[in-house]
């Protein structure tokens, strides 16, 4: 029985992560609702984590630095989600909207 890393080339994981990242970019550029933009950002962070873990499994399995990195990515993403949603709720309370096109006081 061969190991998973011998049956599937590393490139497959990298291509999958590139596809997920591009989808996240598309979501960030098209969505107008702040919560949905946040969802697309979470998708991009996940794509980066997949990259990290794939490299960890294929290049340094005994050091697993990529796994440590992915743990920190998840930690920061959780903090970011909580804080961003608090900001969105605050904006919604003042402006009665979560549409990022209508929140344009800083636009010159």
């Amino acid at each position: 029985m061969e190991a998973v890393t011998q049956q599937i080339p590393l490139e497959h994981f990298l291509v999958l992560s590139a596809i997920l990242f591009s989808l996240g970019v598309y979501g960030v550029l098209t969505r107008r609702n702040a919560v949905l933009i946040l969802m697309s950002i979470e998708l991009m962070l996940n794509a980066a984590s997949v990259n990290m873990v794939a490299f960890a499994a294929y290049t340094s399995p005994e050091q697993f630095i990529g796994i440590i990195f992915a743990i920190f990515i998840i930690t920061i993403a959780a903090a970011e989600a909580g804080l961003a949603l608090a900001i969105i709720l605050r904006i919604f309370r003042y402006r009665k909207t979560a549409n990022v096109d209508e929140i344009d006081e800083l636009k010159w």
Partner: protein, 165 residues
């Protein structure tokens, strides 16, 4: 095709389906449900790459906490009442930009030389992972805990209802 390859392509298809649902669904709640699908598929990838601790963390934090938080925010901002404001007018440009970026990344992946397989994928035991996290990576770990604390206090302060409102 071996079993592992079949599992990988199934999981990859699920992840891409979830990602497409997140960016294309008209209903915000449906997009959140597709986000859960994508997160769980990524957890499956982690199991395939023999990092089961990360898969558990992924299911607990992303599949559970973050998506519940997002759905709560959707409910509180009444996002699903306004489906016509979900997608902006620049979607053709965004499609061109993101497909160019994706094509560039995939071309870079295809033309680079990657290190070959290293033989056996060893499962990292929980003890070894925890040992590394609390010894070698103790300083980033403490900084991450500080970041979480600041984010927690910040979220409470920001969402606190003022007396005069």
């Amino acid at each position: 095709m071996t079993v592992a390859q079949g599992v990988f392509y199934l999981i990859a298809a699920l992840a891409v389906t979830g990602g497409l649902g997140v960016v294309l669904m008209r209903s915000a709640v449906h997009a959140a449900l597709f986000l859960i699908l994508a997160m769980l598929a990524v957890a499956g990838l982690y199991i395939l790459l023999a990092s089961e601790f990360l898969a558990l963390v992924q299911v607990l934090i992303y599949g559970g906490a973050v998506t519940v938080l997002l759905i709560f925010a959707l409910m509180l901002t009444r996002a699903s009442d306004l489906p016509e404001t979900m997608v902006g007018s620049q979607w053709p440009l965004a499609a061109v930009v993101s497909s160019l970026l994706g094509g560039l990344l995939i071309a870079a992946v295809a033309t680079s030389n990657w290190p070959g397989d290293v033989g056996e994928t060893t499962l990292v035991p929980f003890e070894v992972l925890g040992d590394a996290l609390f010894r070698r990576w103790a300083v980033p770990f403490e900084i991450a805990s500080l970041v979480l604390l600041v984010a927690l206090v910040g979220a409470i302060v920001l969402s606190h209802q003022d007396e005069g409102e």
